[in-house]
């Protein structure tokens, strides 16, 4: 392909239910040139995250919907290859929401510089990026665990869940994770130090939670919603905190699923359930990044990435997210570093 072509993936159709490959279209456009104040970024790593599904819907949410024909929204780590902005030099590694494309212009306001000395730069999309910040602030500021608490996290092997569980371990909590394959269960218990892993696809959730959480659940960090969450709500401890971080089981439903009305569990346990978006902590990201980077250096936090090669494979990998096919933070390697 010619060197001056920018490959982009655009929204071809709004997904109905689960997204399918025909909802996406690969297009080729000219590589843009930066004007005054702008930088041109070459994408190295693209992040695939469940929230992107919400942007593909027309439904009202916290952020505007994508229009048909727009480049799919997504976090990128890339290299500045041309700059008309004094804040950025050629060669800088940056992170920003530049979308599913090989090259992107930015006026710089939404770019942050990534320190390649801190950790591999791909982590700026994972453990040192949005998912890591989500885990750090969501667990500590919304869930507020105390040493000795029992913390349950769903999608425990995912980009957010694996960090939540490890931070809870650092706080001397009892940590229980749910995941959907034996390999993920083995990983969170034997590699990440979770006390118990529950395979929600094969185990009796009620029984498994009773066994794993004999004193009830003090903090539930929810990434999935649906039946897993229904079950955990039956095991809350008094004054439990339920962090609503994601509801991936619900994102591809055209109407909300039906489930038991279980708010009485909040009443009798005087429990708090709170939804949050990581942006509410944006002014504190440096705290989270530095803290997690230190834990990585000290060997206290591990992370797992699931890497797909080539922008053209982003749609298929994204679809797989909703089937639990990824194992760890899902990334597309778009170009060599």
């Amino acid at each position: 392909m010619p060197a001056d072509v920018n490959r982009q993936i655009i929204l071809a159709a709004r997904p109905v239910g689960y997204p399918k490959e025909s909802d996406f279209q690969l297009v080729e456009t000219p590589i843009p040139q930066p004007q005054h104040g702008e930088v041109l970024v070459k994408t190295l790593w693209l992040s695939l995250d469940p929230y992107q599904r919400g942007r593909m819907s027309a439904a009202r949410s916290y952020a505007p919907s994508l229009e048909i024909g727009e480049v799919i929204v997504g976090g990128v780590v890339g290299r500045v290859i041309a700059s008309q902005n004094p804040r950025f030099a050629i060669g800088d590694i940056v992170e920003g929401r530049l979308g599913w494309q090989e090259y992107a212009l930015s006026d710089g306001h939404d770019l942050r510089k990534v320190d390649p000395q801190l950790a591999p730069i791909s982590t700026a999309l994972g453990v040192l990026g949005m998912p890591g910040m989500t885990a750090y602030f969501g667990l500590l500021e919304i869930g507020r665990p105390k040493p000795g608490d029992t913390v349950v996290v769903s999608a425990a092997a995912g980009a957010v869940g694996q960090v939540v569980g490890q931070i809870a371990r650092l706080m001397n909590c009892r940590v229980v994770g749910t995941a959907g394959t034996p390999e993920k269960i083995e990983y969170i218990v034997n590699e990440l130090g979770f006390d118990v892993g529950i395979n929600y696809k094969t185990e009796d959730l009620e029984q498994a939670l009773s066994n794993a959480c004999p004193d009830g659940v003090d903090v539930y960090f929810d990434n999935v919603g649906g039946p897993v969450t229904d079950a955990v709500l039956n095991h809350l401890a008094p004054y439990a905190r339920v962090v609503i971080c994601g509801q991936i089981s619900q994102y591809n439903l055209e109407k909300p699923d039906l489930g038991p009305r279980n708010l009485r569990a909040l009443l009798t346990n005087q429990a708090r359930m709170e939804g949050f978006l990581v942006f509410q902590f944006a002014n504190r990201y440096q705290e989270g990044i530095q803290r997690i980077a230190r834990w990585i250096r000290e060997g206290k936090i591990k992370y797992k990435e699931d890497v797909v090669e080539g922008l053209e494979n982003a749609p298929r990998a994204f679809i797989g997210l909703f089937e639990g096919k990824n194992f760890g933070k899902l990334l597309v390697k778009v170009a060599d570093e």
Copy 2:
């Protein structure tokens, strides 16, 4: 009937679904005599409250279940008629959980003295008692409204709801209440000053909420659960607070009802939902009582009582609670003051 007989209503059978009169039994026992440290209280007013339904179930909750044959639990305002306890004199008016009976012994630890100068003594079971404290602390400490917020309260004409709405008015909130009869709607709007009343039995809830809450719902004080709550959750404003105070629509169901899984509404709005029991504020009841009593004297808070005469009519009146038959705080007048 002989003067030395204590009429009591005991649990004859655990209700299955809605309670029925045969689940209760009126029995006659001797009036007990106080021993050292005890007082004998003659019941004047008995409080009927939805929470009592929970105690009749065997299911685990925040308080122990009643056993078959036990006197039904319930708040009472009565007069001390014999005392072996130096803290209480004959003639004192007291409030305590003395149960559905005409006379009760107490060691005094769970009795509080009622000041008959403050307001009619029956209010110690309503606006100046548990329901009033529930409204005051639940709204102010859990819901945390700000002036200008839109506050929605369900069961708005009930013992708790009417106080919630009026306190929210005092805070210069926009106040919307739901209730199930035209008389209740008329009352909350024309007597209590709610901005809007919605008859959940006859109106299209979604449309009515859209009209009543054009900027969304900042605080939802929920006494009912079920479809009313489902609808309100579709109208939350960013950073909304949902106070789970009661779920009366669910108390007579043998299994949780099915409803839409709507936790995503908490996520996208970064909303908090919190259950509470008024006992968590027990050390501050005097603050709530004095404040509400002042508002009553100043004409800023009104209250409505629904009085049934005679202990023997308690079961039927209690059953009516779950059909919305009461209009205001439901009390049984057991004896003349």
